[in-house]
Symmetry: C2
Subunit: 335 residues, 2 copies
């Protein structure tokens, strides 16, 4: 017969185990506290509950719980220009004294005259010149440091916040909620992979090896006895539109079950993700909040959203209405 004391010991253990096992996922009572109550939040919570319910008809094993997020306009803001372009502009200004010829050469001349939009009217050739001048000819480490230093001091023209503060609080909560439920979260960005890797781990908890993005080619060299990777001004991958499923296929090698984006550049990623068998979630963030952020869609130059918004109802994608679905937009609002 079990002694009373032993019974108390064994009786206590299950409780202890429950505390130990529950410690991480439980966190706070509401993991999505910056999301307003309503159908959008419910849809997310239900999807996560369904795919993690062992024995349930929608159960997905942890190794297949891949979630992909666009970055510009989905995890952090993208107005008035992609933040990476502000970096490039600042670097052009910094390097201008060594390049007097830039005063007469586009896209540099317009940048130096304070008109970046005009600079980019030159399309892809202009962009390539800008990237060649500011994103190549250095080692991967040098670029990483340059971006880190810039992010530590440069401020958003309107909000006067560090760019890494211009992230969406509800999306940070969503990333955490997915990871607490066994998801592996990836960024799949049209922006430069090296640029995003310089802050993704600290800002989003997403390590470099889970960032897919546009990239230049790189060359391996031994320089003064030190092996380095030198960024060269040739496109390796444009991770936008059709390039997003290609990037996912090449880097991740398996189809996600959850995808979040905010523009037509994310259409194919959402299409590819949600066309697979079993439970799928497509999230499309609609910027509807001219007060706290910006309101834009089909007429916007940056982050244009038209086709993807039209496709959402028939594809069953969940459209997030920023103004109504988010109680908080930026973390600094709460301070």
């Amino acid at each position: 017969m079990m002694s009373r004391c032993m019974a108390r010991i064994w009786g206590g253990i299950p409780t202890l185990l429950i505390y130990l096992l529950a410690a991480v996922p439980a966190q706070a009572a509401d993991p999505l506290r910056s999301w307003a109550d309503g159908p959008t939040k419910d849809a997310i919570m239900e999807f996560v509950a369904n795919v993690t319910k062992e024995g349930g008809s929608d159960y997905v094993p942890p190794e297949e719980r891949i979630a992909v997020f666009d970055n510009d306009g989905t995890l952090w803001a993208e107005k008035p220009l992609y933040f990476q372009l502000f970096y490039a502009i600042d670097k052009v200004k910094e390097k201008a004294p060594e390049h007097p010829e830039w005063k007469k050469q586009e896209p540099f001349a317009s940048i130096l005259e304070g008109d970046p939009r005009k600079a980019l009217e030159g399309g892809k050739p202009a962009l390539m010149k800008l990237l060649a001048a500011t994103h190549s000819g250095m080692t991967g480490n040098e670029f990483h440091e340059s971006v880190s230093n810039w992010l530590a001091t440069a401020r958003h023209p309107k909000y006067r916040q560090l760019y890494t503060e211009m992230v969406y609080q509800p999306m940070l909560e969503l990333l955490r909620h997915l990871r607490a439920n066994g998801f592996k979260t990836f960024i799949v960005s049209g922006g430069g992979v090296d640029f995003v890797r310089a802050f993704s781990e600290e800002t989003y908890g997403i390590p470099p090896e889970q960032v897919v993005g546009s990239s230049l080619k790189a060359k391996y060299q031994v320089k003064d006895g030190q092996p380095v990777l030198v960024k060269i001004p040739e496109i390796n991958l444009i991770d936008d539109k059709e390039g997003k499923p290609v990037g996912i296929y090449q880097y991740i090698g398996r189809r996600p079950i959850f995808a979040a984006g905010n523009s037509d550049g994310d259409l194919q990623m959402l299409e590819y993700t949600t066309a697979g068998p079993g439970p799928r979630f497509g999230l499309l963030l609609h910027h509807t909040d001219s007060g706290r952020e910006w309101a834009y869609d089909r007429n916007s130059h940056v982050g244009r959203l038209d086709e993807a918004l039209k496709a959402a109802p028939e594809r069953g994608w969940t459209v997030v209405d920023m103004q109504n679905d988010w109680r908080t937009v930026f973390p600094f609002e709460k301070k």
Copy 2:
């Protein structure tokens, strides 16, 4: 005052916790039981102990514990030919009836006559023709299925084992030991990334998103309403020699602290990995076992090892002598 019973409860909990926490890492007493006792095994055990010792001078935080492994000749065998070539050869034979012209076209003619070495004397153009015929023009899913089916039935010409049985038991233990100590293990293979992804998770416990390899380009298409990725016969990345650090930089985005290889194709990966600051481990597997496996190095056509072996002493790489350092080579030996 604490009752005697409460004291027993609280006294019992630390023991329980230790069991719970130790359950995974401890496994068996010796995590590398197929490795012979001696300096090689000691070097590995010490490195792992040092980088995981919190507060120690060699401590490395978990997110930086990246370990990369070559595949052919490092995780599984590569003789008499890379196993992926056996797949390509079998596919050529299978498709030959639809291609009567192959009887007069290299590299197909030599393959059909049973002389794959002669077929490959045509160098890169011959290899590209072979890849175009057997590794492209289908979707990623179709290729994955084709490889899975082949691996489930095809047998090694000498050992008559499935190819996925031709893996090195000591390396399986090493992968597990590293992961149990917070390492993230990656494959960085000269072989095709899609080919390796078809078996890496089941065979090595390495998920597709942690496999870097050579690749063809891919194109996104919607075919009969279904989004697919079609493999096209153009090289995307040759993940060999200088291409290995490039692949690591592009896919992983951070320098590993542990690298294992077996040929000159791994020289740059080992060089790049071990030249970084802090504790580093370079492992070079030397195939010295003509009895249980094969003995080969600088005169070998497949898996040539010359420069890397010469570089090992000055770089401080640990050379594994297969014959002396491994108690078991293949898992099936033990049966």
